[in-house]
């Protein structure tokens, strides 16, 4: 079944590039940096201004796409309509239902309440309303934010044998956070993980700069600043050494780092790295996160924003990734790639103590912003 659904998805993506191009609020914006969506989302068919009589919702299909490498799943529902419709959508008060109002179409006899697999949503129901309108309710298994779903329409395409469609995309809900945060850095237990070390030099620049040296230098500056602000800082390493032991297995080494955070009930875990690419022109700052609690993306956004202000390098955004240290820490965690060691300009920059200090300040400001926002608004963006 999954196999078929995936094939269908690929087929649709291949045959219908407008599936992605037609997303009105996301055009030209990488999916990893979706903007905060408006409360009510409206899409209007542009192909036909006159609302045709007796338009019906005739068929519904769905599949769950699993993002193996970047993490997270998303559900796509496709509803066929016999003509153009207008749609508007919102989350209900509990953020656990997506409610879609369809103007200009009734529910056909062929569709009714459809049970889903429960991964992202339990069921979708269809109701005909007054004045030839209808309502679609998607009941989710968890709670989502406005940025986690998107509803849009697709026009008919006779070349591809497609009729008018309403498309609903929903990201996998993140379980309700067990974490609550207070603002400020005072008394916060924060784990700082200088990437690589000892027998593992990390990436190496053209001028032989080693990643492990820079990550430690920046981490130590972060430690000084955080302790000044009253935080309790736990460093996974204080010197140029392997955290578990020389030439240990990669998992032992990474686990030793995440254990520092898990064993000490840290509030957040922050791993500092320097990026690399085989292409020397690639450059900039990226903050990676894994969406395991409601707060991971908020932490990544706060760190990324402040690193970009501090370092003024290209903003590559916050991006989801299946990285070990984020997956295996219990608390919100990010891995910040400050700059590219493979980019000659940036290799020179990261060797400068002044630049290291700026980036350290960016991290500390990012952490401060995170605690303030997490205390005020909870998780999510």
């Amino acid at each position: 079944m999954r196999r078929r659904l995936l094939s269908l998805f690929l087929l649709i993506m291949f045959l219908m590039p407008q599936v992605t191009l037609a997303r009105p609020s996301h055009t030209n914006i990488p999916s990893a940096v979706s903007p905060v969506a408006p409360i009510i989302k409206e899409t209007m068919m542009t192909t036909n201004e006159d609302v045709l009589p007796r338009v019906e919702l005739t068929n519904v299909r769905w599949f769950v796409n699993k993002e193996g490498v970047t993490g997270g799943n998303n559900l796509r529902l496709v509803i066929d309509t016999t003509g153009p419709v207008q749609v508007s959508s919102k989350l209900d008060d509990t953020n656990s239902q997506v409610v879609i109002d369809i103007t200009g179409a009734t529910v056909g006899n062929t569709i009714g309440c459809l049970p889903l697999d429960g991964d992202i949503a339990d069921q979708v129901s269809f109701t005909t309303m007054a004045n030839n309108n209808s309502k679609i309710i998607v009941s989710l298994t968890g709670v989502i934010d406005n940025s986690d779903y998107n509803v849009f329409t697709l026009p008919s395409n006779s070349a591809a044998n497609k009729i008018f469609r309403v498309v609903v995309d929903i990201n996998k809900p993140i379980p309700k956070a067990e974490y609550t945060f207070t603002s400020g850095l005072q008394n916060k237990v924060i784990v700082i993980d200088p990437g690589h070390g000892g027998s593992d030099s990390g990436a190496v620049g053209l001028n032989k700069t080693q990643e492990k040296t820079i990550t430690l230098a920046v981490a130590q500056k972060v430690q000084v600043l955080l302790e000044k602000a009253g935080a309790e800082v736990l460093m996974t390493r204080q010197t140029d050494k392997d955290v578990y032991g020389p030439n240990a297995s990669a998992v032992d080494e990474l686990k030793a780092r995440t254990s520092v955070a898990n064993d000490n009930n840290a509030a957040v875990f922050l791993s500092i790295h320097i990026d690399a690419s085989s292409n020397l022109i690639a450059g900039g700052t990226t903050t990676y996160y894994y969406p395991k609690t409601k707060y991971d993306v908020l932490l990544a956004q706060c760190i990324q924003n402040n690193l970009v202000v501090a370092g003024r390098l290209q903003n590559r955004g916050r991006r989801p990734a299946r990285f070990y240290v984020m997956r295996n820490t219990e608390m919100p965690a990010v891995l910040a790639e400050l700059a590219f060691i493979s980019n000659p300009n940036e290799e020179q920059l990261i060797n400068s103590p002044q630049f290291q200090q700026q980036m350290a300040q960016g991290i500390v400001q990012g952490l401060d912003a995170f605690f303030a926002l997490a205390a005020k608004n909870g998780g999510g963006l």
Binding site: L10, L21, S31, V69, D275, I281
Partner: protein
């Protein structure tokens, strides 16, 4: 092993090259180029679609592989049409290892990486590389993410492959260069493919 240099292939880069997208928004007139050499000339950056026509009636198959964009942000599919054979997944990895001639794309595979073995069991592809996958890796989270995603996405193009377990010198590896968790078979990622 398939020698890629000897293959006459059709390369259709469906997704436009990046530099081309900015500098030249129209499809150049020479979108069908006939290449009949032992090697494929480098695609001009402005070429959106480059097609090499097979001269003979030889049966062909389409293979989609993934390379990174120049800025190392995303993957872009590159479609090759090659002589049909009984080992298309292996051919796809060989093409991935051979790199790209498109100046707007970057191969994600470390130099001198070789395919040792490839088999599929229960819809999981086990793809075994030599240790240059790790030793000659540039390091960095971003290249590791793109490397793993390119391998997984290239192999999951085949309908019988749902997940991919990467092996090095015959063994499972916990991670390639210290960021990505590769202990389990990984499924495909659509988010990392550049949307145009």
């Amino acid at each position: 092993m398939l020698s890629v240099q000897k293959v006459l292939w059709v390369i259709m880069i469906l997704m436009a090259s990046l530099a081309a997208g900015c500098a030249n928004s129209t499809v150049p007139a020479q979108s069908n180029l006939l290449y009949l050499g032992a090697t494929t000339p480098g695609n001009p950056v402005s070429t959106r679609t480059t097609t090499t026509i097979f001269p003979l009636e030889q049966e062909t198959m389409q293979v989609t592989i993934y390379h990174a964009t120049n800025d190392a942000m995303y993957l872009i599919p590159e479609i090759h049409i090659v002589p049909k054979n009984d080992y298309p997944a292996q051919t796809a990895i060989e093409l991935l290892l051979a790199g790209t001639k498109n100046m707007a794309l970057v191969s994600v595979m470390p130099p001198d990486t070789k395919l040792r073995a490839l088999w599929v069991k229960d819809h999981i592809a086990y793809v075994d590389f030599n240790d240059n996958l790790i030793k000659k890796n540039t390091g960095g989270s971003t290249s590791e993410l793109l490397l793993v995603a390119a391998i997984v996405n290239t192999l999951t193009e085949f309908p019988n492959i749902q997940k991919v377990q990467i092996l090095v010198e015959g063994n499972k590896v916990d991670t390639i260069v210290g960021h990505m968790d590769t202990t389990q078979p990984l499924s495909r990622s659509e988010k990392i493919i550049k949307k145009l």
